[in-house]
């Protein structure tokens, strides 16, 4: 008679690599959507040619509406 058992091993540990990657995504995403005032890509030419003043940077403006809608402070 053939007996077959299947053991499923469940691990409670959370991989540190995954936590590190996800924390990186968290920090980057929250900063650019919620807090960037021209620091990210501020070196690029802003839409009005003002040289990267806060509030005029194109990357800042790209996330502008979601920043307001998500409750982050904005200009």
């Amino acid at each position: 008679m053939l007996v077959s058992n299947q053991i499923t091993k469940t691990s409670a540990g959370v991989p540190r690599v995954a936590v590190g990657i996800l924390l990186g995504v968290l920090a980057f995403g929250v900063f650019i959507v919620g807090f960037d005032q021209g620091e990210i890509l501020g070196f690029t030419v802003p839409a009005d040619g003002s040289g990267g003043e806060p509030g005029t940077n194109w990357a800042h403006e790209f996330y502008h509406d979601m920043r307001h809608a998500a409750g982050f402070p904005c200009h």
Binding site: V3, T10, A18, I32, F62, M66, G71, P73
Partner: protein, 241 residues
């Protein structure tokens, strides 16, 4: 735990929920933002600054279009935090399946990271807010967010340490309420006056709060469904004959 599957379902759930948030905001929140930006432009015109209508239209298209991608990125980042919290807590969260557990975790995170900070520093449409105070307002918002988030985290550890003590169900929420009440009273208010019409501001706040709340609910449902289907906690199946 299967690292790749865990990261994949976390990012995918966040991206889907965030993209849906961006799409719904196009219909629900954008009318308020459009109105507020028009008010800003009227104020700018009154101060004798010249605005090119074609440039203004392109500028608004850029901002509106960006909201979709911004929703995806915000979803990815909030989803990442959610995934980490769920991975560490799902074994101690009540619920018959992971979808229910994920909804409970999402509800707690929504309360701690969105609702509580919003009660002190509510969302404002573009016509509200002085550019000169932006870094100060950001500092206040982050400080309140950190107080709420880390208080909840610390109390969650304490809740676990208290083991089977029934009194913890009353003490832990009471301590959190005391910390938040103290912070609410101690921290300064938003320094900027509200010069925009209050019906616009209140309508914006309610609508954006509804869509963000919906995002948190969606995130929980989508993430929990993925977790149930792909269960990254299961690492190996060993057949013995």
């Amino acid at each position: 735990m299967k690292t790749i599957i865990f990261i994949a379902i976390t990012l995918l759930a966040g991206a889907i929920a965030g993209t849906i948030l961006g799409a719904i905001n196009q219909v629900a929140v954008e009318p308020y933002i459009d109105h507020a930006v028009e008010l800003e432009m009227q104020n700018t015109n009154q101060s004798n600054q010249i605005i090119n209508p074609a440039e203004f239209t392109a500028y608004r298209l850029w901002q509106r279009g960006g909201e979709m991608l911004a929703g995806t990125i915000l979803g990815l980042s909030i989803g990442s935090l959610f995934g980490i919290v769920f991975a560490y807590t799902h074994n101690s969260v009540p619920g018959s399946n992971n979808k229910k557990k994920a909804l409970i975790v999402a509800g707690i995170m929504w309360f701690v990271l969105f609702l509580i900070p919003a009660l002190k520093y509510p969302a404002n449409p573009p016509a509200v807010g002085d550019p000169e105070t932006i870094y100060y307002r950001q500092s206040l918002y982050v400080a309140f967010l950190v107080i709420s988030g880390f208080s909840a985290l610390g109390l969650a550890f304490l809740y676990r340490k208290m083991g089977a003590l029934n009194i913890k169900k009353a003490i832990i929420p009471a301590v959190y309420a005391a910390i938040i009440s103290g912070a609410y009273l101690a921290m300064p208010a938003n320094p900027d006056p509200i010069n925009a019409p209050m019906d616009l501001v209140i309508g914006f706040r309610i609508t954006s709060a509804i869509t963000i709340s919906m995002f948190w609910g969606l995130l929980g449902v989508i993430f929990g469904t993925f977790w149930d289907k792909l269960n990254p906690s299961k690492t190996a199946r060993i057949s013995v004959r």
